[in-house]
Every structure is written in structure tokens, then in C-alpha cells.
């Protein structure tokens, strides 16, 4: 679990990027930080691995203040994926993926074996292993970025708009595979996006930020769509909130039936702790009601 307690980030010029943030990010789930640009979502993310240091307050990972850990050591234990993937152009794909294992001092053979394993895992043809990033498509590069973050099997992954640089069709595919991957891996994922659709699709919990680094609402996607906390959130969700909500339920339904077929896989997304699986049930029921209402 990652906890923000009274965290503020103020820059020397007086700009407040994050304002008195209290946030609990559950372990093993996807938590999405969403909001317009300048809302402090990326700053919040970067305070977890000390790429940004808070001005006030503390960030703890599993009860441990991150400031007590050497930044390099801390970061090697946290997966990091950024927009445009940030792949090293001078390294082959396999060596890009093995970056953190190399830093941790694994021997080359073991690190590469792990990299090949991950390529398969994220759906990359092993024939690409010896290529260089510039020879890959945008979607393939993002997969490499995810594989690279997973290489040392960190319990936490920080993802900063990882899919926003690819076209919508590729993005949808990447999102699906990301969810599938997460069902197996159950990492604690903090995911930053400016796209509310992506947030609703991926998040177990969504933190909506507004400009000035204020947390406007922190809720499950369903709760967020059903009961936006204020006008800002309502506006941010946009006029298609109802449709989004329906789509959200449809996805849940689809997963549920898929889950029934493969023996309860839906639980992974609908939640393995009690409170959240209740939510899935309620949501399905409510969704049916809404659909019926819409048909009338």
C-alpha cells in the first residue's frame, strides 16, 4: 500500500503542484490518477519513487517513509513506464528490458533469459530481441516499456501516460492486454492519464485531480460516474457520463460471463477483496435497470 499523508509540493517560484494530498493506494490494484494538465497527477506519481521530493508531508510504501530509502535503490524496486516509452536507442530490445536486472547486478545470461521471458509475456515476437527501438512501431515500443518495468518483478509499477502516444486502436489493444497481464501479476499500479475513458477502463480506483493539485474525488469508477463529488468532476467526466457508465457495466458483464467460462477470472478485476466484489454485483444490477430505463 502506498500512502500520501498531508503531502504538498510547492516549487521555489510559488507554484503549488500538489496541495495537501491524503491518498491511500491499495496494494495489488490499479489506481488511476486523472485530471487536466497542470493538476499535479504526474508530480504525485513521481513523489512515490522520489523523482520529486515533497515540500511537506510524507509518502510511505508499506508503512516505510520513502525518504528513508536511497533513491536509486528505491527506484530499482519500482517499475517505471513513461510516455513514448523512453527506450534507450543505443540498446537492443533485450538489453533495454534487462536494464534493471543489469543494475541489480544479475549476470548477463540470467538477465537476458528474463528479458526473453517478458517479451513473450507482453506479446512481443522474440525475433525483435536484437533490434533497436527505432526499428519498432509505437505500440511495440510501449510493450517493451512495460516489459522493461516488469523485468526485476517489482511489486509496484508507476505508469505515466504509457499509452497516450499511440493511435486509439493500438491503445485499446494495449489496454486490454495490460488488464489481462495485471490479472496474473496483481501488481500495485499507479497509472497517470488525462483520458477519463482510459481511467474508467483500467482503474479499480480513480483519483480525480484539479488544477492546483487538489484531489477532487477518490472513488471507484462506478461511484465516480454515479455520484460525481462536485461540478468540476461532473464537467471533467463530460456530457457522456451516462454512456460511459453503461459502457463500464457492459465491460463488467462481459468479463463476468468470460469469468464464468474460465472459472472465476472476473474476480481479479471485479475485486478479490469483499467490498469490491459486492460492487460488481450492484453495478450489474444497476446497469440492467438503467438499460431498461433507457429502452422505455
Amino acid at each position: 500500500m502506498i500512502t500520501f499523508a498531508g503531502v504538498t509540493k510547492r516549487y521555489p517560484d510559488g507554484t503549488v503542484a500538489v496541495d495537501h494530498l491524503d491518498l491511500e493506494i491499495p496494494a495489488g490494484r490499479i489506481t488511476v490518477l486523472v485530471g487536466p494538465s497542470g493538476c499535479g497527477k504526474t508530480t504525485t506519481l513521481r513523489m512515490i519513487n522520489r523523482m520529486v521530493e515533497p515540500t511537506e508531508g510524507t509518502v510511505t510504501v508499506d508503512g516505510r517513509d520513502v525518504r528513508g530509502v536511497d533513491p536509486a535503490t528505491l527506484r530499482r524496486g519500482i517499475g517505471y513506464v513513461i510516455q513514448q516509452a523512453g527506450l534507450f536507442p543505443h540498446r537492443t530490445i533485450v538489453d533495454n528490458i534487462a536494464t534493471v536486472p543489469y543494475l541489480l547486478g544479475w549476470d548477463k545470461k540470467k538477465a537476458r533469459a528474463r528479458a526473453y521471458e517478458l517479451m513473450e509475456r507482453v506479446g512481443l515476437d522474440p525475433a525483435l530481441a536484437r533490434r533497436y527501438p527505432a526499428q519498432l512501431s509505437g505500440g511495440q515500443q510501449q510493450r517493451v516499456g512495460v516489459a522493461r518495468a516488469l523485468a526485476a518483478d517489482p511489486p509496484i509499477m508507476l505508469m505515466d501516460e504509457p499509452f497516450s502516444a499511440v493511435d486509439p486502436i493500438v491503445r485499446a489493444g494495449l489496454q486490454e492486454e495490460f488488464l489481462r497481464l495485471q490479472r496474473d501479476l496483481e501488481k500495485t499500479i499507479v497509472f497517470v492519464t488525462h483520458d477519463i475513458d482510459e481511467a474508467v477502463k483500467l482503474g479499480h480506483r480513480i483519483a480525480v485531480f484539479q488544477v492546483g493539485g487538489v484531489l477532487a474525488q477518490y472513488a471507484t469508477p462506478d461511484e465516480l460516474l454515479a455520484r460525481p463529488a462536485d461540478d468540476f468532476v461532473t464537467d471533467f467526466l463530460g456530457g457522456e457520463r451516462g454512456i460511459r457508465r453503461l459502457r463500464f457495466f457492459k465491460e463488467l458483464d462481459a468479463e463476468e460471463s468470460a469469468g464464468a467460462a474460465d472459472g472465476g477470472g472476473a474476480a481479479a478485476r471485479a475485486g478479490s477483496d469483499g467490498s469490491e466484489s459486492d460492487r460488481a454485483g450492484d453495478a450489474a444490477a444497476e446497469g440492467d435497470g438503467r438499460t431498461a430505463a433507457a429502452e422505455r
Partner: protein, 261 residues
């Protein structure tokens, strides 16, 4: 053309390939001055450029970078010959030092500026990813910034060495050896064949340097950042799936003497 034919016969004159005024001796002298000046240049300018480029953050580093780069660029305008004469006057002549000073002054700017610019221009996303994955500052410099900036750094080194080699001829003006002897002595004797012969030797040496750097580039620049590769490295291109990319001729439009004076 006649001049060249005549100078070719100069190459065949007796004693040309042996003795204290023979080509091998003069060539070695020339190389000795040049490589010594180059080594000192690299020792000074390369670390400075790399570190300043790496420390792009913070006002102090930026100010230092600006200052060094400006003076480096201003130093390009120094008249080399004037500097040589000045160095001769101010130090005891006959020593190597007077010739090294202008050569180093000439070579520092390209090395320094290219190393600085090369490192500084590394895409911020790469640094962010490198730091975010737990590389220390040094590791970011050595494992990411340096290899990515390598083509530009090598370009600076090559320019510097070619400039040194073509300028080291002026050593002869102050009584030192090197290939400049053939030019200076030829001039005083009105021996145009000797002058042309000396010039040809300097040109050949410069071309050899260019080739040596092409070999070096193949050895130390990753195919992923090789300028000649980038254009070809298109997604979906069905090239070799495995193994090293195809042989890249470090093709450049410029002539072999592009960097010389």
C-alpha cells in the same frame, strides 16, 4: 596536373625515404606533435564537456556551461600562427611547448562544444527513464548519455584531430620538424615539388585520420544511434531480424578534408 606529376617524381628522389629529412622521420615527428596535442586536448576538453552537459540542471551549471561554451567559441577566432609566434616569444624556443599551445587552443573548441551539446541534447525522456529505473547520476552519464551522444562526440574529436594534423605544419616555422618542413623549406628554396609533396603528405594523413575515425565509429557507436542507420531503421522494415545490422558505411556528404583548414 603537371605540378602533381612533378611532385610525384619528388617522392622518388634519392634519400626521400630515409635519413633525418626522410618522409618516415618527418611523418613520425608530425604524428608525434599532433597526437600529443590531441591527447592533451581530449584530457582537458572531453571530461569538461561531458560533465557540463550532464549537469544541465541548476543555474550555476547552466551559467558555467554558457561561459565555457562562449569562450570556446571565441577561441575559434584566435589566429593560430599569431598564437604560435606569441608562444615562441614567451617560452624558450625549440621546445615542444610553443607548438602545442596553438594546436591545443585550436582543438579544444570542437571537442568541448560537441561533447557538451551532445550530452545536453539527449532527450529528457531518456534521462527520466534512466533515473526512474534507478540509475545513479554517473550511470546515467556513462550508460545512457554518453552512448547516445557518441556520434556527436566523435565528430568533435575527428574535427579536432584533423585540424591539428593540418595545422601542425606550422611547427616548421619555429624550427621544429614534421611534414611542414617540406613546405617551409621548399618555399625558401623555391622548390615547388617539395611544397606540393609536403602538402600531399598532409592531405593523405588527414584522409587516413578520417578513415581511422570511420573504423572507430563502427566500433564504439551503437547501430541504434548511428546517423547512417537511423534513416533506414523504419518500423516494419524487413531487415535482419537477428544479428548485427548491415554494414554501414559512415557515409557523409562532406569531403575528406571537411574539417581541415
Amino acid at each position: 596536373m603537371n605540378v602533381i606529376w612533378n611532385s610525384l617524381s619528388w617522392f622518388g628522389e634519392p634519400g626521400r625515404w630515409s635519413g633525418p629529412d626522410g618522409i618516415p622521420t618527418r611523418l613520425l615527428e608530425h604524428l608525434w606533435y599532433s597526437l600529443l596535442a590531441f591527447a592533451i586536448t581530449v584530457a582537458i576538453a572531453l571530461p569538461l564537456g561531458l560533465v557540463l552537459g550532464h549537469l544541465r540542471r541548476g543555474r550555476a551549471a547552466a551559467a558555467a556551461g554558457f561561459l565555457v561554451m562562449s569562450s570556446a567559441n571565441a577561441a575559434r577566432a584566435l589566429p593560430t600562427l599569431g598564437l604560435l609566434i606569441l608562444a615562441v616569444i614567451m617560452t624558450s624556443a625549440g621546445d615542444l611547448v610553443p607548438i602545442l599551445i596553438p594546436l591545443i587552443a585550436l582543438a579544444i573548441p570542437p571537442v568541448l562544444v560537441n561533447a557538451y551539446a551532445g550530452i545536453q541534447q539527449v532527450e529528457p525522456g531518456l534521462r527520466d527513464a534512466a533515473e526512474g529505473m534507478g540509475m545513479t547520476g554517473r550511470q546515467v552519464l556513462a550508460r545512457v548519455e554518453l552512448p547516445v551522444a557518441m556520434p556527436l562526440i566523435l565528430l568533435g574529436l575527428r574535427t579536432a584531430l584533423i585540424q591539428i594534423i593540418s595545422t601542425a605544419t606550422i611547427a616548421a616555422y619555429v624550427g621544429l620538424g614534421g611534414l611542414g618542413r617540406y613546405i617551409v623549406d621548399g618555399y625558401s628554396r623555391q622548390d615547388y615539388d617539395s611544397m606540393a609533396g609536403g602538402a600531399i603528405l598532409v592531405i593523405v594523413l588527414a584522409i587516413a585520420t578520417q578513415l581511422a575515425f570511420a573504423v572507430l565509429e563502427r566500433a564504439v557507436v551503437s547501430p541504434g544511434v548511428r546517423p547512417a542507420e537511423r534513416g533506414r531503421a523504419r518500423p516494419g522494415t524487413k531487415r535482419r531480424a537477428r544479428g548485427a545490422p548491415p554494414d554501414a558505411i559512415p557515409a557523409e556528404g562532406r569531403g575528406a578534408l571537411g574539417g581541415s583548414r
